[in-house]
Symmetry: C2
Subunit: 101 residues, 2 copies
Amino acid sequence: MTASTRTWRFAVNVTPKPGILDPQGKAVERSLPHLGIAGVSGVRVGRRVEMAVEAADEAAARAVVGRLAGDLLSNPLMELFEVEALGEVAPAATAATGARG
Amino acid sequence: MTASTRTWRFAVNVTPKPGILDPQGKAVERSLPHLGIAGVSGVRVGRRVEMAVEAADEAAARAVVGRLAGDLLSNPLMELFEVEALGEVAPAATAATGARG
C-alpha cells in the first residue's frame, strides 16, 4: 500500500458463550485423569486467529478486525469474541516485506 | 480441595508454527474480498483453551497448565503454545462453587 499506512498485529479470541455446551472442553476434562493431572476444571475450547492489518491508524485497523471477527470468525449465537492488540509491526519489517512484492 | 488451595484461570494459545501450512488461515484470507475487507494478511488460525486450576500457589498452577498444553492441547511438531495468566478467581466465588459440590 502507500507509505502513509502502517501495520499492526491483532488476535481474535473466540470462546463458547457461558452456558453453551462445549464437547471439546468436556473431552479434555475426561482425559485429565489419564495424564495424572488434577485440579483443572471449567475447560473451554475456542479459537485464536492472528493477523496483520495495514491501515492509516490503529483505530481503523481495530475496526477492520472487529468487523472480520463478528462477520466471519465467530458465530454470534454461540460464541463470544474479543480483539487483542499485539502491537505495531516495525516499519523496517514492513518495508522489507514490501520490497519483495 | 482443602482450604489451603487457591484457584487461577489460564488460557493456552496454540498457533501453527511459522512455515507450517495453515489451510484455515488461507480460507479466511480468500473470503476477505467477498466481505469487502482490505489490508488483512498473514491470517493464522489456532486454538484458545481456557481453564481454571486449583493449586497451592500460582507457580504450581502454571506448571500444570504447561504440562497439559504440551501433552494434550498442542502438537509439538506443528504447533507452538503460550500460557497466558488470566488472574486469580476471587476466593468468595471459589467457596460458592465448592458449597454446591
